[in-house]
Amino acid sequence: MADSIVELAAGSEIAEQIRPKSFSYIAFQQFIRNERAILGVIVLLLLVLAAIFAEQIAPYDPYKTNYANVKQPPSAAHFIGTDELGRDSFSRLIYGARISLVIGFLVSAVSTTIGVVLGAASGYFGGAIDMIIMRVVDVMMAFPLLVLAIALVAVFGPSQDNMMLALICVIWIWPARLVRGMVLSLRETEFIVGAKALGATETTIIFRHILPNVFPIVVVQASFLVAEAILAAAALSYLGLGAQPPTAEWGSMLSNAKELMRILPVMSIAPGLAIMVTVLANNFIGDALRDALDPTLRR
């Protein structure tokens, strides 16, 4: 019956309308119709451009001290003033985008990859592998994320790279749990049982049938993990456990600004606003991705 309708309508406009559309096509359509998502993408693109072309955009060298020009209030020459060493705060803010974005995306990408591999192995093979991985996850879940990251930084020694390593060590458990749960339920579905009955190999089932189904949800979570990592990194750097001075990083700029709160409040305001805008843009994109990629939410 359906076939005959398609045949009837062949070549007309209606045919175009009733032609089945691919999952990614619908998802893309839904994503670009979301105003917040577009705003998020634009803001994030601007931030990425600022990070890439920091040398060209920043009016001054972010590390150049100028003792004749310290603790200046905002002016035409220095949009948000200068710090206690005479460095231009606005230039430091632009360079800070580099570090925050790199940390956010790198930590999210690496921990998601680790989480997907371990979670999929855990869910698919079950048995001893599952047992070991999940007990590790259970134990790690008992520690507050930030506290465990702090403890790991204490062990590794405070530095920007060690902070990223510590964050990866604590964040991978979320994608792992998510993927394990999804793989567990997928494993029992008819189409996987069918594929097995047809003699599909384990590799085919995992890479061809299971992972593509897990992928959209993982992307959504990874986008939220970017925001999570940026916030955690800023907090660790604020505590002096992440990026070390004189690095132009938003969290450590906030910690530096504390001494000058009374005379230069703008130094405390600007880096936080920068973090918030970055995270907000990310959350907009994450929300839109979730609406677009999660078939259970589709209307």
Partner: protein, 313 residues
């Protein structure tokens, strides 16, 4: 039900065991010789002296023996001594623990007082400007670094308006309360956005259920349906969220205690890192984990009282 609670407590034991294993591993991952770290301020020791101290501390024993001793000592409340203060770590932690508890409990109360009504009102007034405003507020709340929100509160209410103290903890009850306001409001931000969102969606879900429609159909007053029939069921997911995010709240407390100079165990741990006082760091981390495990246990038990469906399973 007693059986359920008993089983739940038994299930907790392997987790506590795992957590102590993790902190034991952390202690042994720390680079450098523990004796040298401990004696860093003292005069240079000869190799023989170091070896004698290692023997005395049992550091030359095989790892399983050390682990067993670590557990036995922990069970007796012995966490070793702090390198900086020379007093027992357990004493240092117990001194500071009440301050962290007061801070976190106050912020949970604040979250419930502000976020719950906000979420419920925006569900009842779905699609109005109130709803939009509440959801925008919730989104901003989750996108802001909580410690920065604290710095902003400090700027406005501490420095600009000069209403509240910005750092430290007051001694008299009134001063104490005044100094608690900014840190606890800051900490509550961590859950504020999330709880508002969950309260809204959970209330919306319950409002769409059949028994609510039946109540309306019977001609019951709108208020009575919303608050007597719908609300109690909508509250159950909130409990899950608040207890599930308790770990996140404690993590946030570490940073916020540092921002406001609040003398809790979070600040103790961070200061200890810079003082290379590793036993204080690892044991504070352990105490944090135990707190999370206990809160999850209490929540699970509370469920059996609140939700009869679990009781009869």
């Amino acid at each position: 039900m007693k059986k359920y609670i008993f089983r739940r407590i038994i299930l907790m034991i392997p987790l506590v065991f795992g957590v102590t294993t993790a902190t034991f591993a952390l202690i042994h991952l720390i680079p450098g010789d523990p004796v040298e770290l401990m004696m860093s301020n003292a005069r240079q020791l000869t190799t023989e002296e170091i070896d004698r101290i290692r023997d005395k501390l049992g550091l030359n024993d095989p790892l399983p023996v050390q682990y067993a001793r670590y557990l036995t000592n922990l069970l007796q409340g012995d966490m070793g001594d702090s390198v900086r203060s020379r007093s027992p770590v357990s004493y240092e932690i117990m001194q500071r623990l009440p301050d962290t508890l007061i801070l976190t409990v106050t912020s949970i109360v604040l979250v419930l007082v502000f976020a719950l009504p906000l979420g419920i009102i925006s569900a009842l007034k779905r699609g109005t400007w109130i709803d939009t405003a509440a959801m925008t507020f919730a989104l901003l709340g989750v996108s802001m670094p909580a410690f920065w929100f604290g710095i902003m509160l400090m700027l406005i209410f501490g420095l600009h308006l000069d209403w509240l103290p910005t750092v430290g903890q007051g001694k008299t009850p009134i001063e104490f309360t005044r100094s608690l306001i900014l840190p606890s409001v800051t900490l509550s931000l961590i859950l504020l956005g999330l709880v508002t969102r969950v309260a809204r969606s959970s209330m919306l879900e319950v409002l769409g259920l059949d028994y609510v429609r039946t109540a309306h159909a019977k001609g019951m007053g709108v208020r009575r349906v919303n608050f007597r029939h719908a609300l109690p069921n909508a509250l159950i997911p909130i409990l899950t969220i608040v207890s599930g995010q308790f770990a996140g709240l404690l993590g946030g407390a570490v940073v916020i205690e540092k921002v406001f100079g609040w003398p809790g165990i979070g600040r103790l741990a961070v200061d200890a890192i810079f003082g290379r006082d590793y036993l204080v760091v690892t044991n504070t981390v352990l105490v944090f984990a135990i707190m999370v495990i206990l809160v999850n246990l209490v929540t699970d038990i509370l469920y059996t009282y609140i939700d009869p469906r679990i009781r009869f399973q």
